[in-house]
Amino acid sequence: MICDKNRQASKKSYNIPLATVKTLISPLLKQATEVESHTLNVYYPAPKSQMSKAYLTGKLFLTYSSHMVTTPDHEQEVFEAISHPARRRILDLLLEADRSVNAIAGHFVMTRPAVSQHLRVLLDAGLVTEQRHGRERRYHFFPERLDPVRDWIAHYERFWDDHLERLQKHLSKRSKE
């Protein structure tokens, strides 16, 4: 059973530019013709299904996986989560296998409570979840939730694609002069 206390039933409202909302949800809007509002209500993942639900002020109702909805707040959490070397090391360990806090602490000089604090940051950023196995809790890492890191580069890729296209236009304009 997946136990994900900190993300249960949390609901947040964000003011996101309409263009961004359209970009985020465009793959999901096959049936909708127009997005009329730019308030996006995001429900964080229901723990078991790893799915989240979002709707646009009642006009549309959408269901999609949690990591597709990224907001600056959430992105900052992800970047902060991986900014500490100990937390990156924890993610490396969890990539090999699900582990308990004691098993993780065995790889560090720091105390168990310190490890727990780092795990809390990773939980809050949604990168790991807690799973109960008998009396102990094990932590599971979802690497795909690092998508904001990949998307960060993707923004710049689009940025340069646009600008290099402009450079080409600039040059062809000049060669005609």
Partner: protein, 146 residues
């Protein structure tokens, strides 16, 4: 762990002409942003990305220093904006039967070590702001182009 964006484009113009498109302040203002670029190593300059209230984007300054300037072959400069530090942009021009082959690189995106705590200090230069701004920059650009 750093990542690099690479692009290769073929341009049907001679290398000298492409060089004037990338190593000239007026030309850069046309396809990039207003700037005070000068083609000499060590020169510090900025690109001023204009604000766009329509998408809640309040503008951005990109700080650069010319690192290499070897006409008409190679231009490289550092690139720092908001939370992004320690990256470099380079243009390599090679003559080609049809004109010029342009090899573009933007390197130094450190995804595993986001520049220590530096990137997180202060609201103005936070990652969140950077992340929030880039789509706006691109949108801004599209609205100018279209």
């Amino acid at each position: 762990m750093t990542k690099t964006i690479r692009r290769e484009i073929l341009i049907p113009q001679p290398r000298e002409q492409v060089w004037r498109g990338i190593a000239d302040s007026t030309a850069l203002a046309d396809w990039m942003f207003p700037n005070d670029f000068e083609p000499r190593v060590g020169h510090h300059f900025t690109f001023q990305v204009p604000p766009n209230p329509k998408v809640n984007f309040d503008g951005l300054t990109v700080r650069c220093e010319v690192l290499e300037c070897d006409p008409p072959t190679r231009l490289a400069f550092s690139w720092e904006a908001a939370g992004l530090v320690g990256t470099q942009v380079s243009f390599q021009l090679e003559p080609n039967a049809e004109g010029t082959r342009l090899l573009f690189e933007h390197s130094g995106f450190d995804v595993s070590q986001p520049h220590g705590n530096q990137a997180f200090k202060g609201a103005e230069y936070g990652w969140a702001k950077m992340l929030g701004q880039l789509p706006a920059v691109v949108t801004n650009l599209r609205s100018i182009t279209s």
